[in-house]
Amino acid sequence: MTKLNVLNSKYDEKYGFSEPERFVLKTEKGLSEEVVRKISQIKKEPEWMLNIRLNALKIFNSKPMPEWGGDLSGIDFDRYTYFASSSEKTADSWDDVPEDIKRTFDRLGIPEAERKFLGGVGAQYESQTVYHKLREDLERQGVVFTDTDSAVKNYPDIVKKYFSKVVPAGDNKFAALNTAVWSGGSFIYIPDGVEVKIPLQAYFRINARNIGQFERTLIIVGKGAKVHYIEGCTAPTYSTDSLHAAVVEVVALEGAKVRYTTIQNWSSNVYNLVTKRAFAYKDSCVEWVDGNLGSKLTMKYPSVYLKGDGARADILSIAYAGDSQHQDAGGKVFHLASNTQSRIISKSISKGGGRSSYRGLVKVAQGAKDCTCTVQCDALLLDDVSRSDTYPSMQVDEESATIAHEASVGKVGDDQIFYLMQRGHSQSEALALIVLGFISDFTKELPMEYAVELKKLIQLEMEGSVA
Amino acid sequence: MRLEIRDLHVSVCKKKVLRGVNLCVEPGEFHAIMGPNGSGKSTLALTLAGHPDYVIEKGEILVDGESLLDMPPHKRALLGLFVCFQNPAEIDGVPLSKLLYSSAKLREPSLSILEFKKRLDKVCKTISVSPDFLERDVNLGFSGGEKKRAEVIQLLLSNPKFAVLDELDSGLDVDSLSVLSKAVNSLRGPEFSALIITHYDRILDILTPDKVHIMVDGKIVASGDANLAKEIESKGYASI
């Protein structure tokens, strides 16, 4: 077991769910119509949002659990608390964090760990001035960057227009659950023609948590506009909530360019079931950069519906599955218009009994002329107790389409390790170099600080794997 | 065959490449077209072949007085127009020998396989290829030299009246160039004409041209006799 996993379990045992002294609003355990009404009431939502929630609850109740993907048998819907405002899922102050966890962050070389660990009120430390300036710039350009709860009240027209249109409640059981009990998440609206130069990060939001159980994120990018949104960070995210069912809806209008980067590193007790989808209109470009490092089970397939001619999708996904982890990830692209292009690159690593599965779908509708798609999924098995699966699906109904797919599964070559050791590297350093090379297509797309953190994390993991 | 090109304007992928080409090749003549990279030489070859990506915006192409403009590529071929491509397409699963026999039968439906084999053997000796070469799939994994050999074998067996050679010499060693050029030369006669597209004048030592044209930016900017080629070789295109 790696050091990080050991830390995870110790954290659960010792710290669990801490009840801070201040008043916490929460619903009783389990899911029912009263719970949903209470959530809406606590938030003081307009009627139209309450109706969306209630309708979604009906759909949730009518849908069976999916029979494919990971093992969902450990989920007991009656056990969870579906809403708790200001609940402290993490320690209240840096002082309360156990010593060995602090040391991990030191080893990872993350000086801002404090800020990230405390869950997102990023304005507390030295970034305060940067943060304020960013906010002023954004406001001047007409960019809206707030949490979804506030958006329902302050921008109801926009929310009504797009909410649940990209991912309807009926899409799948967990999307229905999220639509019924959602809370928190980011709301971003970029007006036509505006190019947001600095990536927007979840922890720049002023007053909401960035670790949500049922986060609902809605991003609308106007014509010719451009934005890069980063959700999460590579540092381990401790959570006692073991069900996270988030929904992300992205709309890229004509000529827009959107990149959404996530690196998920949930503690190993979490079921991470996420529906992420984008609608890409004419000549727009949507990029999902999706890193899955943590959780007990992740089921996540970022997808793009290419609805306008000339639109483009790029899905870059990495998954790392360690002991007792199952990463079931991939991507889906639907070519619904002509001259659309897509690319899916997936790299997965399995180690210490972990299981990494790539699940992908490329569909070309009849009439979507001259579309091209390439898929490349490679998997690395670092030992003989781990598992790798690949389930790529191609469905083509249009004769002018060109679809190509390549996959490989293998292990790190002994000759590669030997060569690097002969050049002076230790065995674990050699392994780390090779694994980093394997995921280089992904890391080169990350902002520098994330790439650095990810690199350190991999190095740590590889140290743990060599006897 | 007499080829006449009048004020030809051609675009590829919405980009204008040929901007008013004028050319006339009489039966029995060999003409050379030289020019810097990107001047449109290959575009001319592919336009004559009738490749769908090459759109004729304006102008005329006449072969023995007949317009080629609405004529589909295979009909042009059956008239006797043969284009040796610079980058011929690969045809997976179709052996070269099969393509050669089928092409021959198109032109002579009553051709027997024995008679065809005789002709094929003769050509293979001239081009120096082994029988194994003929069993490989058309152009699949062929080296540059092998591709040119395959093109010339097809040329020799197709009873051509007009050959367009698109950079036959590129990527060929001295000996191969000699063998292939001599083979093309053997077709010379009062009814046979050729358009030789090249960068260098070496091929023209064997395939001596009656006229040499220089193409720059999609237009023929100079024409002359074989000496023009020598001039380019020593002074470069900038001297024009």
């Binding site: 004769e399 002018s400 797919h405 599964v409 | 284009v83 699963g93 799939d137």
Partner: protein, 168 residues
């Protein structure tokens, strides 16, 4: 559903042809078990018309090898469903597998559905697959046209060559 077992050191070749005559509505299921060390199988599957096929290969011993070569041409409303599933459980070290699928889709009324899956629990393996779905190359059509073949004949030659090309 048919189950084929391959024994020690045995090299089996299985050819499956889906044609108009044999086309059936229901899905054809085949499972091949590589039972003993060094067993190997090569499956050549050709779709000359619509059909539904699932081929599963289980590597149940060390140093086993499998190869699936699938080629299909879909036209005139054909629906091709070509699924394969390769399973290499823990312990079957030294095993190799390769799946190659290529399809030509000739017109707008036809469909191709392909899912080549891999489930691997052993790290000492070489596993890979590649798949492609594409129209007939216009360059190839233009090339054959320049040799005198009209479009229909050219398509026929290319399709025939495509299916034969799979025969390695």
């Amino acid at each position: 559903m048919s189950v084929i077992e391959v024994g020690a050191g045995e090299e089996k070749k299985i050819v499956i042809v889906h044609s108009e005559d044999s086309a059936r509505k229901e899905s054809q299921e085949r499972t091949i078990r590589l039972l003993h060390p060094s067993a190997s199988v090569v499956v050549e599957e050709f779709f000359c018309s619509g059909a539904k096929s699932n081929v599963t290969i289980i590597h149940e011993a060390k140093n086993t090898s499998s190869r699936i070569i699938t080629r299909g041409v879909a036209r005139c409303g054909d629906i091709i469903v070509a699924n394969s599933r390769i399973i290499i459980p823990k312990g079957s070290s030294g095993s190799k597998t390769r799946v190659e699928q290529s399809f030509l889709l000739l017109d707008g009324s036809s469909r191709v559905r392909a899912t080549p899956s891999l489930e691997i629990e052993e790290d000492d393996v070489l596993a890979g697959h590649c798949a492609s779905i594409s129209p007939i190359s216009e360059d190839a059509i233009a090339y054959l046209a320049s040799r005198g073949f009209d479009r229909k004949v050219a398509e026929g030659m290319i399709v025939e060559g495509f299916l034969k090309g799979g025969a390695g």
